[in-house]
Each structure stands twice: as structure tokens, then as C-alpha cells.
């Protein structure tokens, strides 16, 4: 993200812009050399693709999500939102695939006489513009930024890509059934980490307007450049009301004491219950926007003259993940479920001072057997309550 405004932000005016102005704005970003990445319909879902214009966005689409279920559907033509761009929430992908790509070449090496040498020529840092980053995902980016810059070591790739990116956030005016960002204090309104944050509003006539908040000087400059004017009080109020209604519409939640609850219960019988349903497929960790685990792969050319180290995403659900000479430590699916959920909701706090969950709901939607992290944590809480009652 560009240079933050901090204090100035609070005082900065909110802008109103229409769809044409937004189109112009992303065109300007493109001309500045940013590669535009935004949500796009593909294979029956919304994925994050390189886009060229607003036409590539999922216009007039909304999503239906539930545990183990995802459907896209068209918004009825007589619905005021029929021309809206951002009525789908989050799809299976998150922005980490651009900030920390699933497969990266760390370095290459080639033999040189008796020895060998390393060619660490990094690829040029891509300059992205992320269009339509939801609040949960902004939080996830901030969570990952702590992982990849942990005080001792910095991942130069992640840091450079994030530093070069222009971020247009979108405050959610609609929640999927799987959303629970409100209970994770991660949405539905974007708080920080953006250049521009939009709230999409559909006027009764069908015209789409956006209330824009600025998070950086460059964000403000671009809004000025496309002729966005100050947003009227009525429009601002309508935007705030829509976002507030989104928060109220969420039915799922994670209890505030989840971290302590899981810390107390590494041997709870409910782990076996989860494991009985879990396929160990790792979907939850692949769709999670904060998961950061990776593994290394070493490749050599056939003649043995060149070698490369590759890093790719890994999952705590794979057996190989916990391998030490002799065999994997977490042999039972139960212990892998425990690792995933306890890490997300509990040990993450100790490691990074924040939860590893942002309430995006992806793990719920994309679990092939419909395991729902909010239901599972509720089960732990429930057993716990019963135990306490029995003791009393």
C-alpha cells in the first residue's frame, strides 16, 4: 500500500464516485504500470484474476454459501443491485496467492568447475492493484505481514509485493451465510491497510454509486484525478447503514474465549468427532487467507549441472508436513485437525499477538464434508459448560 495518511485520514473527506469514474480510476492505475487483479467469474466461482476493466468483475452476480456449498446466481433484473459489481463476497482464492504465490523459485544454482554458484536474481517485483479487497482479507494481509516480517527475519518477496501494491478495498454491503468477520473484529468495514475503500450503493434507479474513503495520499490524488466529488451526508449515511446491516446479518460467530478454550482442551473427545468426518484433504488450509505453511522442493537438471530451490504452499493436513526421520509426528487425522484449529484460533495469539482467523468463512464453504469451524468451537464450549455444571 502507498504511504498511509494516518491522522490526515480521519479528517479527509469522503468522496462520491460513480461507476464511470471508478472505471477511469483503474485505467489510470493500469497506465501507471499496475497490474489489475480483481474478482472474476470462473468455473462457477469467483476467482482473483488479472483484469483489464470493470466489465471483467462479477456484474450483477451474488453468491450463496453454506458449509460445503457454493453457488453463484444472477441478481434479478428488477433488483436495484442488478448492475452492482461487488455483491459476491469471497471466493475460494485470497490475495495471498499474489503476495506469496503458491509456487516460487527461491534461487537457482549452477555448477562452476569444482564448485557451484548461486544465481539469486529475483524476478522484478510485480506492481499489483488489488480491486475489491474485503475487510476480512485486508485483515488477513496484515496477519500475514506479521508472519513474513517477524522481527528477526523478513521475506523480501512478500514485503516488496505488498509494498508495491495499490489496494482498493470494498466494504461489504452483503454477507454470505458463512461470514463471521464481525465476531473476529475483522469487518465488514475496512479499517486500515488500503489506499481507497469503497462502499457500493445501488440507487433505486439502478445506478451504482460508491462512497470512497481514502487511506493514502495516492488514493486521494487518484480520486481527485477522476473528478470524484465530496460525498453528501445522505450517501455517506446510507453506506454506513448498509455496512452496519451486513454486520447484523451474520449468524455465525467464534466465541471471544476460543483461544483459552482450545488451549485447555488438547485431549478433548470432540477432536475424535471432528476427525471422524475430516478427510484430511487440506482444502481448509488452501483456501484460508492467513495460512502460511510452505515446503521446499529441490530440482536438478538432467545433466546435474543446474539446481533450483522451489517453495510451495503446504498444509498441516499433509502427513509429510510433520515428518521427522522415522515417520510423521501427527499420524492421526485427529492430531492434524487439532493442529489446524488450535493454531488458527489459539496459538496464533501467542505467536503473533492476533487471531489467525479473520471470519472469512472460506474453510466452511470449501470443506467437502461441511465441517464448520464455528460449530466445532461451539461444541467445545458446550462440553466445557456441561463439565463445569457437573462439577458445581
Amino acid at each position: 500500500m502507498s504511504e498511509a495518511l494516518s491522522d490526515a485520514k480521519a479528517k479527509s473527506p469522503k468522496y462520491a464516485l460513480n461507476r464511470a469514474m471508478l472505471g477511469e480510476l483503474i485505467e489510470l492505475l493500469s497506465k501507471e504500470g499496475h497490474q489489475l487483479i480483481g474478482p472474476q467469474r470462473e468455473d462457477g466461482t469467483i476467482v482473483l484474476n488479472p483484469i483489464t476493466s470493470l466489465e471483467d468483475l462479477p456484474v450483477g452476480l451474488e453468491d450463496e454459501q453454506d458449509s460445503g456449498r457454493y453457488r453463484l446466481k444472477s441478481i434479478a433484473p428488477d433488483d436495484a443491485r442488478a448492475d452492482s459489481l461487488f455483491q459476491t463476497t469471497v471466493g475460494p482464492q485470497s490475495w495471498r496467492r499474489y503476495l506469496f504465490p503458491p509456487r516460487q523459485t527461491l534461487w537457482k544454482a549452477r555448477r562452476n568447475g569444482a564448485g557451484w554458484e548461486i544465481d539469486a536474481d529475483a524476478e522484478a517485483t510485480p506492481k499489483y492493484a488489488f480491486i475489491g479487497v474485503r475487510s476480512c482479507d485486508l485483515t488477513a494481509i496484515a496477519v500475514q505481514a506479521r508472519v513474513y516480517d517477524n522481527g528477526d527475519y523478513t521475506d523480501p518477496g512478500f514485503t516488496a509485493r505488498l509494498g508495491a501494491a495499490f489496494i482498493i478495498a470494498v466494504n461489504c454491503t452483503r454477507a454470505a451465510d458463512t461470514c463471521f468477520c464481525a465476531s473476529m473484529d475483522a469487518g465488514p468495514a475496512a479499517r486500515e491497510g488500503y489506499d481507497i475503500a469503497l462502499t457500493e450503493l445501488a440507487a433505486p434507479g439502478g445506478e451504482v454509486w460508491f462512497v470512497a474513503e481514502v487511506g493514502s495520499r495516492r488514493g486521494a490524488d487518484l480520486l481527485e484525478a477522476v473528478g470524484a466529488g465530496p460525498a453528501g451526508a445522505e450517501l455517506v449515511a446510507a453506506g454506513e447503514a448498509a455496512v452496519a446491516a451486513t454486520a447484523r446479518a451474520m449468524t455465525r460467530s467464534i466465541p471471544a474465549d476460543a483461544a483459552a478454550l482450545l488451549q485447555r482442551n488438547p485431549e478433548h473427545p470432540h477432536w475424535a468427532d471432528i476427525a471422524a468426518r475430516c478427510l484430511g484433504c487440506a482444502n481448509c488450509t488452501m483456501v484460508c487467507p492467513t495460512c502460511f505453511c510452505s515446503t521446499m522442493e529441490d530440482v536438478t537438471s538432467l545433466d546435474g549441472q543446474e539446481a533450483a530451490r522451489l517453495r510451495h504452499w503446504d498444509s498441516c493436513f499433509s502427513l509429510d508436513y510433520s515428518y521427522i526421520h522415522g515417520g510423521p509426528v501427527r499420524r492421526d487425522v485427529k492430531s492434524r485437525c487439532r493442529q489446524w484449529m488450535t493454531h488458527k484460533l489459539s496459538s496464533w495469539h501467542e505467536q503473533f499477538g492476533t487471531s489467525g482467523c479473520t471470519g472469512c468463512g472460506r474453510c466452511i464453504t470449501w470443506c467437502p464434508v461441511g465441517i464448520d469451524i464455528t460449530e466445532e468451537i461451539a461444541a467445545f464450549a458446550k462440553y466445557q459448560t456441561t463439565e463445569i455444571r457437573e462439577e458445581a
Binding site: L106, W107, I118, N150, C293, R309, Q339, Q351
Partner: protein, 288 residues
């Protein structure tokens, strides 16, 4: 940019990308046991910058095969070379066992926490080692012997599988002469062995040290460490004074790859050396 053998810079690789190793030249490879060897490497002109504390480890990379975490087993007081005693347990360590002087390996490090040799000044130090676990303890032993007058009793209890599988045998005699009390035990032996036969915990049970003013450093297979900690606790060593070195899968040593998580701790950054108290609950949890 290109890193070449002589132009490699520790400083540069650290600030640029912590995943890029420096290239070290193999000085010697000494076969210690059937499956264990000691690799000595050096980076001419750069070694004086390399400082490590006893108990820390490096990531060693073999061209085209892979990278593994290996504890440093050299003398922390000596610069000029890096020493690692390595057990051949997989493809990378196996490939390393064929290295010859003049070959090159990649080195990143040093990483991790260390044995509290400074906190142990003025106290007795009881070192409990099992098998290859003596290798990560060797720098601590050498540090204590280099500063022998700063410590009370120095004791090494060393357990191995059999007499022919005892590491650093000749060197242990030198350590004895420098003021280390050594007791060795093996799981089973031929009749020619005149030392102890039995488990290393038995040496602790019958040990002669002052539990209240003792710091204990334990390294070996995890089962052996669990029992050794119990024996030390039974001998009235407070568990706040017991340190263990842990082992888990590790790919980056930076806290990025997630693999070495042990409960909430990252073995690479918070460990490998832990006060026992800090990890006691996880040691008791299966498959954590």
C-alpha cells in the same frame, strides 16, 4: 545478483533474502561412527564474522539434493571453521556423507536459542546426552571447559546404544583430563566393555551433584529426554533449571514455513533449546 564462492558476503545475504545460503568449502570429513560423520567447512575471509552460541544450528544445503537443520558441534571459542557432526538418516545427510575436501555446501545460520552457559556461571552443570545428542552439546561442553574456573562441578552422563556407537570417544578422554566428570553407559555390551550397562537415567539416579545449584542440559532422542527429565526431577533438580533441545521438521529456520510448530512455539526461533518448564505441557501431549 550472483553469489560466487569468494565473493559471498554474510551481510548481504542476510539483508537480502534469508533463504539464500552462503557457499562454504569443505575442509574435512571425518567418519565418527558407521552412520555418523563430522563435516568441517570454512568460508575464507568471512569466518571471523561467524559467531554462534552453543546449541544453535545451521541450515546446510547439498547441491541439488536439499537442505537440513544441523546443530553446530564446533568450539564456540574457535573461529576459522564450522564443525557439524551429522548422522546419516536421509537423502540429504546421506549425500553429505560423500562430500570431499574442496567441495562446496550452502550454509545459512546460525539459528535458534542456545544452552544457557552464561546463566550457569558459578553453578554445577550436569549434561545428559543420548546418542547423536552429544553433538549439539559439544559446544556447551567446550565452552565450559574453556572457562573451567567459572563453573562448579561439570558432569557428563552419556548414553549410547553400544560401546562401538559412542561418539567422540578419544575426545571424551581429553575432556576428562580438563576437568569434566564423565560417566558413560550403553544399552548393551560385549563382555570386554568395563563401563556401565543400562539406561542413562540410571546414572542420574546414582549421580553425585548438588541439585539446587545445578543447571542440567539434556539432548537426545525425545523418549530419552522425557525419562532423563523425570530422573533429574526425582533427584531434586528444579524443573526451571533443566534445559532440553527439541527436534521437529524444519524447512526455513526463519518462522515462515510453519513446520516446526510444537504447540505454540516455533522450534526454529523459540528453540531448539528450551527451559523444560516452557514446553513441559507439549511434551506430555501426544502427536502435538
Amino acid at each position: 545478483m550472483t553469489y560466487v564462492k569468494d565473493g559471498a558476503s554474510l551481510e548481504r545475504s542476510k539483508t537480502d533474502d534469508p533463504m539464500v545460503p552462503d557457499l562454504y568449502e569443505v575442509k574435512s570429513l571425518l567418519r565418527e561412527l558407521d552412520d555418523t560423520f563430522t563435516l568441517t567447512v570454512s568460508l575464507p575471509g568471512q569466518m571471523e564474522q561467524f559467531r554462534f552460541s552453543p546449541g544453535q544450528f545451521n541450515m546446510l544445503y547439498k547441491f541439488g539434493v536439499g537442505e537440513v537443520p544441523i546443530s553446530i558441534s564446533g568450539d564456540p571459542g574457535a573461529t576459522g571453521e564450522l564443525v557439524h557432526t551429522i548422522r546419516n538418516v536421509g537423502p540429504v545427510t546421506d549425500a553429505m556423507s560423500y562430500l570431499r575436501p574442496g567441495d562446496m555446501i550452502g550454509v545459512r545460520g546460525p539459528y535458534g536459542s542456545s544452552w544457557p552457559v552464561e546463566a550457569a556461571v558459578g553453578k554445577d552443570v550436569v549434561i545428559v546426552a543420548g546418542g547423536i545428542g552429544l553433538a549439539p552439546l559439544r559446544p556447551a561442553i567446550l565452552h565450559c571447559l574453556n572457562h573451567r574456573d567459572q563453573y562448579g562441578d561439570l558432569v557428563l552422563y552419556y548414553g549410547a546404544r553400544s560401546p562401538s556407537e559412542m561418539l567422540y570417544e578419544r575426545e571424551i578422554e581429553r575432556w576428562r583430563r580438563r576437568g569434566l566428570h564423565v560417566e558413560e553407559t550403553v544399552d548393551h555390551a560385549e563382555p570386554s566393555w568395563t563401563g556401565h550397562v543400562g539406561v542413562v537415567t540410571h546414572l542420574i539416579d546414582r549421580g553425585d551433584f548438588h541439585p539446587d545449584k545445578t543447571l542440567a542440559f539434556v539432548c537426545g532422542p525425545e523418549i530419552m529426554m522425557r525419562y532423563a527429565v523425570q530422573a533429574l526431577t526425582d533427584s531434586k533438580v528444579p524443573d526451571t533449571q533443566i534445559y532440553v533441545s527439541m527436534e521437529r521438521n524444519m524447512k526455513c529456520a526463519l518462522g515462515f514455513c510453519g513446520r516446526c510448530q510444537y504447540g505454540p512455539v516455533f522450534i526454529c526461533r523459540d528453540g531448539p533449546v528450551f527451559p523444560y518448564q516452557k514446553i513441559a505441557p507439549y511434551m506430555k501431549t501426544r502427536e502435538i
